[in-house]
């Protein structure tokens, strides 16, 4: 039960974007298209799970006062692995996500999970935590991007939805991201308060 909870809490109860409010910079920036959102979710999840694994393994050998630089070194290494791999084998994705791939290093969600969870828990639980948080992050990006791309560009996965209709461009621009995210927060809180 507790293992299941380690995974599930990232999806809803402790959703990194909607509840913890972390990782908002890439959230607002890359959700202009569904495929960008999915690739971003995948890249971030990979870094998150990998860094959780390593941090959890070395957690007993790390002197507490230098843990942050060590975590950052680990995270940055995985981000460079993702960056080089995408650049070599998925150049179009690399081009589309641009600066937001290297910026995963400073996504506070990853350092946050390393600090709050992986450095205090066993390997198995840390993997589940990373997976849950990664999926929660990716799903939130997907939903946000779904609304922005369909309404703002009249497209889904880069393909036109209804030919001849002029899209509401505002949704693709930064204000559209803020408004959509605000509505998602409202919906989430409404469901939560109804349950209690």
């Amino acid at each position: 039960m507790s293992y299941l909870n380690d995974f599930m809490k990232g999806l809803w109860e402790k959703n990194p974007i909607l509840v913890l409010g972390i990782g908002l910079c890439p959230t607002l920036a890359v959700t202009t298209s569904v495929s960008n959102a999915l690739w971003m979710g995948l890249a971030t999840s990979f870094v998150l799970v990998s860094s959780n694994i390593l941090v959890s393994i070395i957690r007993q050998g790390v002197p507490p006062h230098i843990r942050i630089p060590i975590f950052i070194t680990i995270i940055a290494s995985f981000v460079i692995i993702v960056e080089l791999t995408l650049k070599a084998f998925q150049p179009d994705v690399y081009k589309a996500l641009g600066i937001f791939i290297p910026l995963i290093v400073v996504n506070c969600m990853i350092l946050g999970r390393a600090e709050e969870f992986a450095s205090k828990n066993t390997l198995g639980r840390s993997i589940l935590d990373g997976l849950g948080m990664g999926v929660g992050f990716g799903l939130t990006l997907f939903v946000l991007a779904f609304f922005r791309e369909t309404l703002g560009a009249n497209k889904l996965f880069g393909l036109t939805l209804i030919p001849g209709i002029k899209p509401a461009t505002m949704m693709i621009l930064p204000p559209g991201a803020f408004v959509t995210l605000g509505l998602m927060l409202w919906a989430m809180n409404a469901i939560k308060s109804r349950r209690n």
Partner: protein, 236 residues
């Protein structure tokens, strides 16, 4: 903090950074060949875009304002006459970082083709300067053309980003106007060409202006470079 703690921390952090550097150098070795391959392919593709149907003759390097300016020359035989063309790489700071553009022009300074080599603009906004518009609709893709409604206008040209395609045929030595008409469609071509205009990327006027200014800067440099003898022939 005791001396022992300091030494211990130093050793731990040294080991971890050593492992990280070791792992990354291997990843770098693994990915470098395909990254370099792509860079090379990108430049060759760019040259074929900016010199449509031309044969590349030479690559020249001239020092201008203390910087090396590189340009290519190409020739095409057409109805008995030989047409010359030039291509150059120019860059201009955009919304976030330099945008590097390769532009091909003929002797009358008409743009033959334009290719954006590198940019770091905002994904979804400025970065759409490299976006290839899909003519296929989502439902058409899923269910065939059964539910897709009427056929969208298709073009017989190889798929290239619409933003870059619209520069073809404009005069580079005159001011290129920027209009806001939304995404470029093949039906806009005639109207825009008459005004020597391009349509801006929605929400990324700065990116659009940057590319335009890069061309203006580059063509001016090309004019000066052609007056000067080349410093060194570097071959194609």
């Amino acid at each position: 903090m005791t001396i022992r703690e300091i030494i211990q921390s130093t050793i731990v952090i040294a080991i971890i950074t050593f492992i990280a550097a070791f792992a990354l150098s291997h990843i770098n070795d693994l990915t470098r060949p395909s990254i370099q391959e792509q860079e090379k392919e990108k430049q060759e593709n760019a040259l074929s875009v900016v010199f449509p149907g031309y044969r590349i003759q030479d690559k020249k390097s001239v020092s201008l304002d203390g910087e090396d300016f590189v340009y290519w020359t190409a020739k095409k035989k057409e109805s008995g006459t030989t047409r010359n063309a030039f291509a150059f790489i120019t860059s201009q700071p955009g919304y976030s970082g330099d945008i590097r553009v390769m532009v091909g022009v003929n002797v009358k300074d008409e743009i033959l083709g334009l290719s954006i080599l590198s940019q770091t603009e905002t994904p979804g906004l400025g970065a759409r300067c490299t976006e290839i518009a899909s003519t296929e609709t989502f439902f058409g893709y899923l269910f065939g053309n059964l539910f897709a409604g009427k056929e969208v206008e298709t073009e017989k040209e190889p798929s290239r980003p619409w933003f870059q395609k619209q520069f073809t045929g404009l005069s580079a030595d005159q001011q290129i106007e920027i209009v806001k008409k939304g995404d470029w469609q093949p039906s806009m071509r005639e109207q825009l060409r008459k005004k020597n205009a391009i349509t801006a990327i929605t929400g990324a006027t700065i990116t659009t202006k940057t590319v335009r200014d890069a061309i203006t800067k580059g063509i001016e440099k090309l004019h000066r470079a052609r007056q000067k003898p080349a410093d060194g022939r570097t071959g194609v």
